[in-house]
């Protein structure tokens, strides 16, 4: 018993210690008191915002995201770009005004500025602005001119009274199940990020900094400064609540209850309320020495899947603490969205993620795990490495896809998955003879001829062609990161990623920061690699074009010469490698000879062709380019090897299997 008490005290100290350290600059701090009115799907709230000007500028105005106004009508930029849908889920019943959402600032009062206590109403100074397009109907960004600027290193404190009408869920936030489920995100007036000269992409030579406060776009996610959130939520007593941060108190008043959540060093706050949830808890011992409390808010019909969710999170934690760094928070809440609210699923908020599963989904179909791993991974790529998701979505989605692939193949891809990316054939699907690895499926999203050269990775997300966001924010950069890992090797990649994490956690890293980190840690210049794959549309396809053996004098070998001739017991072998696409990278070359000897080289990959000629007593029998499958970015790996001896057993097997199924199909029609 003593030991237990001792352990609890120690645990509590660890948690307190984990929370007490200031991890971020804490520029935007929120104290929100909110009440949910279920029948009207409305939240009435008061927000005390303290914003710190960390720059040397005097800042005359403040800019705010009013994300919920994206759901105000069909004229918002979000609606126009997305067509009123996200990830295939659309807003239905649009004639019903109850399905729409908005946030309305009822009053904005200046409480203090530059250290002086004030009480000035700013409401009438508020105006909607459009920072990205000229859509005057878009009300997702507001600006307020202050009576006097915020001085360098000074603070401004505002009291904002607002009302948020939640939309019917189709794009991350809102209500579902006739008000029995709320996922409340992007719900409060949220200050933009003021960037000083030299920060991110504001030139050091610029006379002053500027607000980075983009409108809400069809594809875009979010960008915000770190701070402290204290949020008081009043909801009906029967509703189970989960939220960002640690629950500090819970009190009941009549038919309602008030819960207070607190979290330091995060840049957003989301919560959920529903009377349907079944609550499951578990813990994980972090490498940071503290215990992380895991909570799974499950739909009743998914109660048997709590373990699957916890296991996925624990695997990800283990991997991420090894490859990146410690998860410093003491909680993580996983929300299982209600039936009809799947639009809220698969989303990340600090210490709070939404997953998505289905009743009795077989163990061999690992979508439940993939979603959970991916969303938890965002606690790193988004949560702590808070890059700008509007401008460089790949830094969170692409890197996180790499994390997801790494975790899935290590923990769900069997022994083969641990050895190589292409060894893993089971981490996504292993069901009824269909086997697909997570790496394979993610890579295939990019490599098809119609996708490979469609767009670049680094660009504002609202400028992608429709369908391009997934390919160029997730699939291609994820595959690129895995390719980088293969080039660098596991240990070097770990060093790169740990350095990147340690250096930029609780900051806003950019693509440039990442490239510099790679170059610095590896001591090599990887800029050409990233220039090609991040900033241009070029694709990669290297191939072995031909092996000829004999006394052919042809300059351009055209095929395999079956009747090789010998000259005094020696053979002239010629092997031609080809670069079929524009991307260039050094390639490992392997040529095998009939006497078992091997020739290895590295081709710089620059020319269109590389020809190797040998005169030796053995014939060249096989040639490989990138034989270790390092360059997963190579869009066609079926041409990376060539042999002189045809192998057809596999084709017979596939053809005969195909025949068997065709025969059975035909018999149905017989």
């Amino acid at each position: 018993m003593k030991l237990v008490v001792k352990h609890i005290i120690l645990l509590h100290m660890c948690v307190c210690f984990a929370q007490a350290q200031q991890l971020s600059p804490r520029l935007a701090n929120y104290d929100i008191t909110a009440t949910l009115d279920v029948p009207s799907r409305t939240i009435t709230a008061t927000e005390i915002l303290t914003w710190k000007n960390h720059t040397h500028d005097t800042v005359p105005d403040l800019q705010f995201h009013l994300y919920l106004n994206a759901f105000k009508n069909q004229n918002s930029t979000f609606f126009k770009e997305s067509g009123g849908q996200l990830r295939g889920i659309g807003l239905e019943d649009t004639d019903n005004e109850n399905v729409w959402g908005f946030v309305e600032i009822q009053s904005m009062k200046l409480l203090s500025l530059n250290g002086k206590e004030l009480s000035e109403d700013l409401t009438r100074r508020l105006q909607f602005i459009q920072t990205d397009d000229n859509n005057k109907d878009d009300q997702t960004v507001a600006q307020v001119m202050l009576p006097s600027p915020v001085l360098p290193k000074a603070e401004v404190k505002l009291e904002i009274k607002f009302k948020s009408k939640l939309p019917k869920i189709f794009a991350r936030t809102g209500y579902a199940a006739d008000g029995k489920f709320f996922l409340v995100a992007q719900w409060f007036p949220k200050i933009g990020v003021y960037e000083a000269p030299g920060e991110r992409y504001v030139p050091l030579t610029a006379p002053r900094g500027k607000w980075n406060c983009h409108q809400f776009h069809g594809n875009s996610e979010f960008f915000a400064d770190f701070g402290i959130y204290r949020v008081s939520l009043t909801v009906p007593k029967s509703y189970v609540v989960g939220a960002t941060g640690v629950l500090q108190s819970e009190t009941e008043q009549g038919d309602t209850k008030t819960l207070v959540f607190y979290q330091e060093d995060v840049h957003d706050f989301a919560w959920t309320a529903s009377p349907l949830f079944q609550v499951f808890t578990d813990t994980y011992a972090s490498k940071g020495g503290h215990t992380i409390k895991l909570t799974f808010l499950a739909q009743p019909q998914h109660a048997d899947q709590a373990e699957r969710h916890f296991t996925a999170v624990k695997h990800t934690l283990e991997w991420a603490e090894e490859w990146l760094g410690v998860y410093p928070y003491s909680t993580l809440t996983i929300v299982d969205p209600v039936y009809g609210g799947s639009g809220a699923g698969g989303m990340e908020y600090p210490t709070f993620i939404t997953a998505g599963t289905f009743w009795k989904v077989p163990l061999g179909i690992k979508t439940t795990e993939i979603v959970t791993v991916h969303e938890f991974g965002h606690q790193y790529f988004y949560g702590m490495l808070a890059s700008n998701e509007f401008e460089e979505a790949w830094l969170d989605e692409g890197m996180n896809t790499w994390l997801e692939m790494s975790v899935m193949r290590r923990y769900y891809g069997g022994e083969a998955g641990k050895k190589s990316a292409f060894g893993d054939k089971t981490s996504a699907i292993d069901f009824l003879g269909i086997r697909i690895g997570d790496v394979e499926q993610s890579r295939a999203g990019y490599t098809s001829p119609s996708n490979a050269k469609r767009d670049t990775i680094v660009k504002p997300v609202w400028t992608y062609q429709r369908g391009g966001y997934g390919i160029f924010s997730y699939n291609k950069p994820g595959t690129m990161m895995l390719t980088l890992e293969n080039i660098l090797g596991e240990e070097m990649m770990k060093r790169v990623m740990r350095t990147y994490f340690e250096r930029f956690k609780f900051k806003h890293p950019t693509t440039r920061d990442f490239i510099q980190t790679v170059n610095e840690v590896t001591g090599k210049d990887f800029t050409p690699f990233f220039s090609q794959f991040l900033y241009s549309t070029v694709a990669m396809d290297y191939a072995v074009q031909a092996i000829t053996v004999g006394e052919s004098d042809d300059d351009e070998p055209e095929g395999v010469s079956a009747d090789a001739k010998s000259t005094e017991g020696t053979f002239k072998s010629k092997v031609v490698f080809e670069r079929k696409e524009e991307a260039i990278a050094p390639m490992d070359i392997l040529i095998k000879f009939s006497d078992g000897t091997e020739f290895r080289d590295v081709w710089d990959g620059v020319g269109r062709y590389k020809v190797y000629e040998f005169v030796k007593p053995a014939k060249a029998v096989a040639a490989y380019i990138d034989s270790e499958n390092k360059f997963l970015l190579d869009v066609n790996r079926n041409n990376n090897a060539l042999t002189t001896k045809p192998q057809t057993t596999g084709f017979w097997k596939w053809a005969m299997n195909a025949m068997f199924w065709i025969q059975n199909l035909l018999l149905i029609f017989a």
């Binding site: 019909q301 009743w359 066609n636 079926n638 057993t649 053809a655 005969m656 035909l666």
Partner: protein, 342 residues
């Protein structure tokens, strides 16, 4: 039912040529496509060192990168579509021969093809009618899914949707089986009773409705046999990771396909037996009814003492009125069972 099954198997065994013929046709069609597929793979990849990956089993990366050989693949898919159409036409064509042979009890190639040619036109019409009936199971699935959706909304859970949809699929399968049996029996009707397609379908519908359990039972027994054979072969099948292994795998697959063909012939034989049993009863009943009707007509035709002052009808008119009088009499008899039958 057991007797029908036994007879079906007996007929399939005695007319083994049917199984061989059907299997050969099935094999030729499928082999044509499989060889085209194999040649496509071999032409493009025999020297590409991917065969070993394919021996191991399903390889998603190989398939996804096949996109770069898409022209060849799409031409193969076109061939497949035409092949399927050709096979369906061929199957319809052969149905007449199969049924007639099984009915006759003796197999001969000239008769087989003559019968196939004789019935093909009517069987194609029957096939179209059968295809139209597919709308019904589709509709059932759509309706059940819609109900499931509504139930799920109410229950706030996907479970009702899954259960309703699965139930709908189950019901749709039963409806499909029902109409499949109607299709089969309609073919029997065409061959045995020389009916026209639509008439045969209606008649078969009535027959299957009255004998669904036994007909479905016959089908189910044969399907279970296929299932058991498939399961056994699946358990003992080698992985096929070597040339010999692949060959053994192919052999087992072909054993299963041949079994399916044999059991398909046996099923038709069994159904035909059951049909004949029932048709015999029907015909007997019909015969009896006809006899009764003839007697009745004869009785009506006999001169009776006329008490009324009405002039006697002409013989021709009397003949014309016979049916009406007979019907009226039957109707009266039905209304009043005590009244003496004429």
């Amino acid at each position: 039912m057991i007797q029908a099954i036994q007879t079906g198997i007996k007929r399939a065994l005695t007319q083994w040529q049917l199984t061989v013929l059907l299997y050969a046709i099935n094999l030729v069609f499928a082999l044509g496509l499989a060889l085209a597929f194999k040649n496509l793979l071999a032409d493009e990849f025999a020297l590409r060192d991917v065969s070993s990956r394919l021996v191991e089993g399903f390889d998603f990366t190989f398939l996804s990168d096949l996109n770069y050989a898409s022209a060849s693949i799409s031409s193969l898919l076109k061939i497949f579509n035409w092949l399927l159409v050709g096979y369906v036409v061929m199957s319809v064509f052969l149905s007449g021969g199969i049924i007639a042979s099984l009915r006759r009890g003796v197999f001969s190639f000239p008769d087989f093809f003559a019968d196939s040619a004789r019935y093909v036109g009517r069987f194609i019409v029957l096939g179209f009618i059968f295809a139209l009936t597919w709308l019904m199971p589709i509709l059932v699935v759509v309706i059940f899914s819609a109900i499931g959706n509504a139930q799920s909304e109410r229950a706030i859970s996907e479970v009702p949707m899954v259960i309703w949809t699965l139930t709908g699929i189950g019901l749709a399968a039963i409806i499909l089986v029902f109409f499949y049996l109607v299709f089969e029996v309609a073919k029997f009707e065409v061959v045995s009773e020389a009916m026209k397609p639509f008439q045969a379908f209606i008649s078969a519908f009535k027959i299957v409705l009255k004998n669904f359990v036994s007909l479905f039972g016959i089908l189910l027994v044969f399907l279970l046999c296929v299932g058991v054979i498939g399961l056994v072969l699946h358990v003992i099948a080698p992985k096929g990771e070597t040339g010999i292994g692949v060959f053994a795998l192919i052999l087992m697959q072909q054993v299963l396909v041949a079994s399916r063909v044999f059991l398909r012939v046996a099923t038709v034989g069994g159904l035909l037996e059951k049909y004949h049993e029932y048709r015999a009863i029907l015909n007997e009943k019909k015969h009896a009814e006809e006899l009764e009707r003839t007697k009745h007509q004869e009785a009506l035709a006999e001169p009776k003492p006329i008490e009324s002052t009405q002039p006697q009808a002409e013989p021709i008119e009397s003949n014309c009125d016979t049916t009406a009088t007979h019907q009226a009499t039957e109707s009266e008899a039905a209304q009043n069972p005590q009244s003496p039958q004429v």
